[in-house]
């Protein structure tokens, strides 16, 4: 091959550039060539696109079903009542039990209140001593044994309601004897159907789901590299006289647009589903558009990070199954962040947390979608995420280098 032959020059768009032209190809051009090849290969697979949409549909269905369930639960929670099992001398404490019974507390007889509570048949249980009413009438102290499940929200709430009711009974009895100013009245209002609050809560869920969705991106990109190893399509690239970092960066860049688009498409489906009336979020379309627009930067950063992680996993793996196994392991931090944001939705945003990998972009999604974005934290998240991606690509490049040494018989 000579540089003067026009037929060979027309093939410079292919990955295997003639050695005589290596010096005239800049690093950026080399990366672009590799990236375009990888991009065409990944974008051509229609199965990837349909799967992306189906993934978004799956999560949207979960959101919708969860939202519609929450809507019904919201109404039930406001009128929730708890079953109170009572054993012991029920006849001797009937007057107290009649006072305890309210719309929220349904008092029922039992042979063993502790077992009822343990087996979740009742939210809370009471064991009455003998002749409770008689002893109260004689102004004698009585001790009630209360059973509850500390790890169950319903049981704790039933216990709180029981305490409040006992407090009211005590106050009613004592109030008759003395003249004291009225207690502070407490009115409870439920926070619901407030668009600002709903947007905030949805933004938190969105950030957590975006982190978990990256699990698929990591596996997908790792599989791309793995399949390249199986088809031996990676080895010709290794023979090119390009810097190893360029090879790794170009291949990652080629997979990046598809990975980000997949993530964006899934997130967009989730955001649009939030506008459905059945879900009860009551977000207007203008709010939906704002949520989508402001969360896109964070989604793109997360996608880039997931793509870089997948690239490293793919390079480390032998075949596609090996690469996916490594990718699943590398995706665990994404799952951890998703779980963290589910369990601690109000996780604080600060320059430090914005600089952390995965957490920073996720918080950017949450704060952007929830209209609480801080420019400083956003810039920190962008800069540090790019740096983390560069580190991962560098690590993948080092891994590529070992194989180049073998294929090119370099000392």
């Amino acid at each position: 091959m000579t540089a003067e032959a026009p037929a060979h020059r027309r093939h410079t768009r292919a990955a295997a550039a003639p050695a005589a032209d290596a010096g005239s190809v800049s690093a950026l051009e080399a990366g672009r060539i590799i990236a375009s090849s990888t991009f065409r290969d990944t974008a051509r697979r229609r199965g990837s696109w349909t799967t992306t949409l189906l993934t978004g549909v799956l999560f949207a269905v979960l959101i919708i079903s969860g939202g519609s369930v929450s809507e019904r639960l919201q109404e039930r929670a406001e009128q929730i009542s708890f079953r109170v099992s009572v054993d012991g001398d029920r006849r001797g404490g009937q007057r107290l039990l009649d006072q305890l019974a309210t719309d929220e507390l349904r008092v029922e007889s039992s042979t063993d209140a502790a077992t009822d509570v343990t087996n979740s048949r009742s939210a809370v249980g009471i064991r009455l001593p003998d002749r409770v009413d008689e002893r109260i009438d004689r102004n004698e102290a009585v001790e009630l044994m209360i059973f509850y499940r500390g790890g169950a929200n319903t049981s704790r709430e039933a216990y709180n309601n029981l305490l409040l009711r006992l407090q009211e009974i005590e106050l009613a009895r004592i109030d008759r004897a003395v003249d004291v100013g009225p207690a502070v009245q407490v009115e409870e209002q439920q926070v619901r159907r407030d668009e600002r609050v709903n947007r905030l809560q949805f933004a938190r869920i969105l950030a957590a789901l975006a982190a978990i969705l990256c699990l698929g991106v990591v596996s997908s990109v790792a599989a791309v590299f793995g399949q390249s190893n199986e088809r031996r399509s990676l080895e010709p690239l290794l023979l090119l006289p390009f810097n190893r970092t360029i090879l790794a960066a170009g291949t990652t860049a080629g997979a990046l647009p598809v990975a980000i688009l997949q993530l964006v498409a899934a997130i967009a489906l989730l955001v649009f589903s939030s506008a459905l009336p059945v879900i009860g979020l009551s977000l207007s379309w203008s709010t939906v558009a704002q949520v989508l627009a402001l969360s896109l930067v964070g989604v793109a950063l997360l996608g880039a990070l997931a793509c870089s992680s997948g690239s490293l996993a793919g390079v480390m793996g032998g075949g596609s199954d090996d690469a996916v196994s490594v990718g699943d392991f590398f995706a665990l931090p994404f799952v951890a962040v998703g779980i963290l944001l589910f369990l601690r939705p109000a996780f604080p945003t600060s320059p430090l947390t914005s600089a952390l990998p995965i957490i920073g972009p996720s918080l950017l999604i949450r704060d952007g979608a929830g209209a609480e974005l801080s420019i400083l934290n956003a810039v920190i998240a962008v800069v540090t995420t790019v740096a983390w991606c560069a580190l991962l690509i560098r690590a993948a490049a080092r891994r590529l280098d070992a194989e180049r040494a073998v294929t090119r018989s370099i000392r």
Binding site: T51, I136, R173, V197, I339
Partner: protein, 428 residues
């Protein structure tokens, strides 16, 4: 069948003179070559052995498959406890966002359960109730002065019905104001030397979750849930390995062999099942140990051994059906993304079953669910580990239904193989 196949497990294509002519042999009929007298099992064994050897070759993959679930469970547990999100573990005060004259009510608010409530200033209590606080509160001007003068005063609490923390915080606030009033009444009673005890009712509170019975209850649900989730991971690993072998052209070579399609699918499934069980050993040992410990303390050593066997049987059944699902997914899917999607859907479904049937527990009177594959065996295993002997019979029902589903899925996967065979071999 050649000696090489029996001795080493390697697979060689049969010689042309014994290769079955598809047109002369009815489907499912054994061929009449030199190995006809050996029967079909050696072929199944050969396929399974080949697949298993391919899987054992990658030790790193095996190690990753073994430690990934452990790391995942550890992450979930660590995040849950670090964020104090496990019910009943929260020890830090509930945050109350106060809108209004906070300074004018500071003295009163500081008396409301100071160890359990923390009041912060807010411009919008409704929004902050969802944003930075557990509950929001609107206080009137000069709350301290009003309380001191015995004048009426009211506050508004903004709580989120669906958030347990919000409801608990609201209860603490209400109890705090009630206690303030009660203290004032008790003080007035003492000043007037009114006869009788001010506070008559005292409470002895028992958290039943700290009892042995509750620990056994939670342990039984937890080990069953973990067994189900561990088995669910077989879907992804099985399907991904099938995809990999397909990409390497190994599946096409196997499809040219004169094996019944379902036998090919079954051999692959059994190999993946074996590998899956091997990689699940650490989790199995842990869960069986916990099950034995909780049962032994209640019913003795013999019952503990039976509980271990029951849990193992439960896991094997679940692993078999999950391997079958993975086999079908890996056969039908064309891309890794499709495998990931199907695997994610199965894991989500398994998580729902684990939370409802294993951790929370379905009503014992609900018998229709006992016949449902996967759900039935999970429900019955949990019940048996809790000491219900009748659930052993239900476990057998669950195993039967689950294995039936697995057989159907393997059959379906085999049919999918058959379509590709037709394309490759150009048969009518």
């Amino acid at each position: 069948m050649s000696r090489a196949m029996r001795g080493t497990g390697s697979l060689h294509a049969p010689r042309p003179d014994v290769a079955p002519d598809r047109s002369s042999r009815r489907p499912g009929e054994e061929h009449t070559g030199p190995d006809a007298g050996v029967g079909a099992n050696p072929r199944l064994h050969a396929i399974a052995r080949l697949e298993m050897l391919d899987g054992l070759r990658s030790r790193r993959q095996l190690v990753l498959r073994m430690i990934t679930p452990l790391v995942l469970f550890a992450i979930v547990a660590a995040v849950t406890f670090l964020t104090r999100s496990a019910p009943g573990t929260r020890v830090d005060p509930y945050v109350v966002a106060v809108q209004g004259d906070l300074d004018g009510g500071r003295r009163t608010l500081d008396q409301l359960s100071p160890d359990r409530l923390r009041f912060v200033k807010s411009d919008d209590a409704t929004l902050d109730a969802a944003r930075i606080a557990d509950v929001g509160m609107l206080v009137p001007d000069g709350l301290d002065e009003r309380v001191a003068r015995g004048q009426p005063a009211s506050v508004v609490l903004f709580e989120t019905a669906l958030a347990a923390e919000s409801r608990s915080a609201a209860a603490h606030v209400r109890a705090g104001f009630g206690q303030l009033h009660q203290n004032a009444v008790v003080e007035a009673t003492r000043e007037r030397q009114t006869q009788g005890t001010a506070t008559l009712i005292t409470l002895d509170v028992v958290n039943v979750e700290r009892s042995t019975q509750s620990t056994q209850l939670q342990a039984a649900g937890l080990v069953t849930a973990i067994a189900l989730l561990q088995a669910a991971m077989l879907v992804s690993t099985t399907a991904t390995r099938l995809q990999s072998r397909h990409n390497r052209g190994l599946l096409a070579a196997q499809l040219l062999l004169p094996f019944e399609r379902w036998r090919l699918a079954l051999g692959k499934g059994l190999a993946e099942l074996t590998l899956g069980i091997a990689t699940a050993v650490p989790v199995l040992v842990l869960t069986m140990g916990v099950a034995a410990w909780t049962t032994q303390s209640r019913d003795g050593l013999a019952a503990a051994l039976i509980a271990m066997v029951a849990l193992l049987a439960c896991f094997l059944s679940l692993a078999l059906v999950m391997a079958a699902i993975g086999l079908l997914v890996g056969t039908i899917s064309r891309t890794q993304e499709q495998v990931s999607l199907a695997s994610a859907a199965v894991v989500v479904l398994a998580a729902i079953i684990a939370s409802r049937a294993a951790l929370a527990g379905l009503p014992p009177t609900l018998t229709a669910t006992r016949f449902v594959p996967i759900l039935g065996i999970v429900q019955s295993t949990r019940g048996f580990l809790l000491g219900a002997p009748a659930d052993l019979a239900w476990m057998l029902v669950g195993v039967a239904s689950t294995l039936s589903l697995a057989a159907l899925l393997v059959r379906w996967a085999g049919r999918a193989f058959d379509a590709e065979r037709l394309v490759l071999r150009g048969s009518a």
